[in-house]
Symmetry: D2
Subunit: 332 residues, 4 copies
């Protein structure tokens, strides 16, 4: 028995796939998305399940079920899982996952037992970053920082052509370095974390505040939001900015100002050849990229005496995490 | 003909040396120190020359001269040079050296021609960090950040057991990430760089200010400095702190506060297993280490859900740069 | 007909009162408290009404009703009203009241019509500050800043013996000057306002965060709060601090650090002879006052060359606003 | 005997003067400027002396000598002295003057003895502010903050039509409230003082840094400065900005950003009806005023619910201090 989604990708497609296949699984707070991925990063089959988020055991069973559905049709070399949370340096154990009930969950061992094939676990932002470095905007680059900008800032770092994981698997928690001492409270318990300034949520809050305090300056934003500041979304800010609305453009300049500052800090430490901006805000494209790069360059130590990293918009979309997890299982 | 310094290390020591030998050269603004180093990081012979800092060609000649003196007595596999400045990713060219007259100086090629043996060039803080990771406080650790705290903050990063150099050889310029937006002016042209807060110079300025503004609170510091705030040095602050002087201890707490904050930022990005504090401030030992570690732990994202990096004082002294440069030439 | 509260203060007390009488009314978001006040600041009779907060007209009627109850027993020279919000420079119109439905409400004119006696309106923090300057901790001082520290920071400033109101009646909005650029979001639409750092709410949030992130360090706080971080109140932090709990004491040190910094800024501008700390946090007494004063002194420009303002805890309690409003009507 | 300067203003001018006359003296670090001022703020005679800055007694004698020269020709009601430093609340004693050798100098008493006429002493920025409020851009306004922006930020505050001096005569040290916690070091011993961001010196440093780090962006500035970043002055930045140079305009935007932020803080506390920008930067006029006002309005608490102070450029020039000191002696 196979799901309609898997049926929709018939055998012939499989035969066009390059090299061996692996399965990637993106474990979100509400749904589990799984897919069969070839060595070029193409998804040749997909399926999904709802996430039973409050029951660790049932979550594992749903993952296994989705994988079995795909393996009934495709021969794969392994499975890569991506999840929000802290994953240990062996890519085996989820130490802490804020949105799932996992605490020191031995996910790899447990799923290998269930599935009878190799499994690796990776942080979801790392997995997405890896896909972008392998198949997206940063292909060919050896040193890359990928910023996935959604509600928060997730990050992945590729150094010398490999995904960088740190001593304990916790590297690249770049949304949580302090950019403003004693700044805005962060859900992580600290203050002034970068993601409180450079995230999509920060963009939306900025736009909502402008619309609340100075509605006459935010008429286009309010029109698109049905008149209520609380109705302003990231998509609305992008749309307004594209039509030339000054307040919306200012919101992106402000977001770019914080992104550029944080990237300059990262460049002093990591000296990458490229930054890639991924996540929902990418739809703004050059409206975000240009001010970000300008501020980045202005705040880069040693400017004028050094090469400067490129700043690009991501090329892969929402499925980057799934693709990257699958590809990492190839490399195991 | 050999210099007295080299003569002071007679042949028998050489025979006790472990493995092959290499020469390390530390090129400072005022003097060039060179030494023969074995595979255990021991210096078996030394010599030095003054630095003709304003003449790039003469500086090269002095380096070559010091090396020739040592090679007249010892057989070595190569030469490693350490210099303050930006060194390219191939360890060949000094792109920019603030204290020397070098701009895009092809040092490696030029010295290999003069000396007829392999040469590598490395940033001096990187070289010192490498020595500390190989032979000092961090031996056995795979992921280490070494902070060399002098007038500024120099840094070196070891990842997966290798010195991390970034895409263009400019990684680990950690003294120049912004820790206070719009903060103190830095010689690098930016504002709020870490080294304006966490360096030995910041420590001394803090003590001098206290002694100027509230001399009654700084009597011990002033006594040791001959009564003048401007006479207070890092060594004096350390001495006063050791004798229990409250103002001096407060200065180290303040230094530790900034070091701990910056280290927490680095840990979010790099996730090392250990931080090593090196440089002149090390003489304060636990007086500096303890408050630094406390603030680091308090500001670490995810604390309570993750392993925490150790914080150690360096074990090697001023010659770490020379030793590290020599050792890196072994690995070429 | 009179209320039980008014009946509880029989005629004889009235005769012991000093000088003429006036009525003060404190218009809160949930209740209207009114009292008859003599020239020494003693309350000789009290009454109260619930606040019909969403109906401006009914709120006025309730105020008038409370006043009439008191005037049926006492002869007064006028009425002073205190309300949270912006009151114009003539003490007549409430331009904006966040918790009531008033926008450009001509309160003075309207109530004088209803009551047939002189009425003045004042911002509630100003009224409370005036009482403290006249009858409380700052009596005899000519230049005083009173900080009323509750959920936010309210302030009142007395200059040359008079309540300072500014050009438009909006002076002393001291909770809303920026103390951390790009800092924590404030309900006023700005970022980094002082009240996001120096208020009772900031104290409680700090304690709750400590208890969440490092529960082992906050056992006494958690015990008093029934085990839940969210159960920690300002009163609990005070109680724990009094019993010597280190985490609670740290919370007050942090609060004092921000209060002291803000007070140093105010002293550079206003050069008062005294600061008075009022509001709920006063119950902590010296536990709060001492660290606040230490930080204030350390951050005062010109220290060592100038007299330094005293720092005191308020002497009057919750009824200061009512007393101050009444007294201001005397001075009309 | 009279000086050539006094001779240059013959009797007839005196007869055109309005009302009584007073003498104002501006005591600078290098020269003492004195003048006879009428009740309309017009200077009807002038003289000057060099300042013997390191000898308090000789400085007094020079002041007395300049005054005597003027009184030999004009009948005056008193003398007003303006000096940089802390002047006590009685306008009698200079507690501390950074550029002169005065410490607790009883200037008023001593000069009244020498001269046999009434003398008052005032801080020079206060005196200049008073002139601007009486005769300049703020005439007719009751609540004004005047910022004198030179090397630092000096300030004067007029409240209810009177010069505000605070409890100890030290009010309006507005250049020294902290605008960036842990920010740039200030000569006053604190960090992050407003004048390190909003002064003419900050403007020049910003321009010099731009010209050093990115000379290709600062060609016009460098051309006017003879090719050297160190040659860039405030006047040059103004000139370049007027000719449309983008880097120079950015420097004024940055200065305006800090001025506007600081003014928003002052408005929350003082609620003035007007801010006046005085000092050397005034020559930039609208180039500075417009961005300052925009940022001020954006950062003003309660905006949208309150009247907003006007922002003006000063009308009086360098002699405002002399005129204000004279006028204050009228009011004694």
């Amino acid at each position: 028995m196979s799901s309609p989604a898997a049926q929709a990708v018939p055998r012939p497609v499989h035969e066009a796939a390059e090299g061996t296949l692996a399965i990637g699984v993106d474990i979100g707070g509400t749904k589990i998305a799984a897919g069969v991925v070839d060595e070029s990063g193409h998804i040749v089959a997909r399926t999904r399940r709802p996430t039973p988020a409050d029951d660790p055991s049932k979550t594992q069973e749903s993952i296994a079920d989705a994988v079995r559905e795909l393996t009934s049709e495709y021969t794969v070399v392994g499975v890569g899982l991506g999840a929000a949370g802290f994953v240990d340096e062996k890519r085996s154990t989820v130490m802490f996952a804020p949105n799932l009930a996992w605490r020191d969950e031995h996910l790899r061992e447990s799923l290998e037992d269930r599935l009878g094939m190799p499994v690796i676990v990776e942080n979801d932002a790392n997995a997405a970053a890896w896909a972008e470095a392998r198949f997206g905007a940063a292909r060919g680059e050896t040193h890359v920082v990928i910023l996935t900008i959604g509600t928060g800032i997730g990050g992945g770092v590729v150094l010398d052509g490999k995904l960088f994981r740190g001593r304990y698997g916790l590297a690249a928690e770049i949304g949580h370095f302090t950019i403003v001492p004693d700044g805005r409270r962060c859900g992580c318990g600290l203050h002034g974390c970068w993601e409180q300034y450079g995230s999509g949520r920060a963009l939306v809050l900025e736009a909502q505040e402008q619309a609340t305090v100075a509605p006459s300056m935010a008429q286009e934003l309010l029109r698109l939001a049905g008149g209520r500041p609380a109705g302003i979304t990231g998509h609305i800010v992008t749309e307004a900015a594209r039509s030339g609305d000054v307040t919306a453009l200012n919101c992106f300049d402000e977001l770019g100002r914080w992104l550029g500052r944080g990237m300059a800090a990262l460049a002093a430490i990591l000296d990458p050849g490229m930054f890639v901006i991924a996540g929902g805000v990418c739809e703004a494209g050059e409206i975000l990229r240009a001010p970000t790069e300008a501020v980045f360059r202005k705040n880069l130590t040693g400017r004028g005496h050094r090469p400067t990293a490129k700043v690009r918009i991501a090329e892969l979309g929402n499925e980057a995490g799934l693709v990257g997890a699958a590809d990492l299982s190839h490399l195991r």
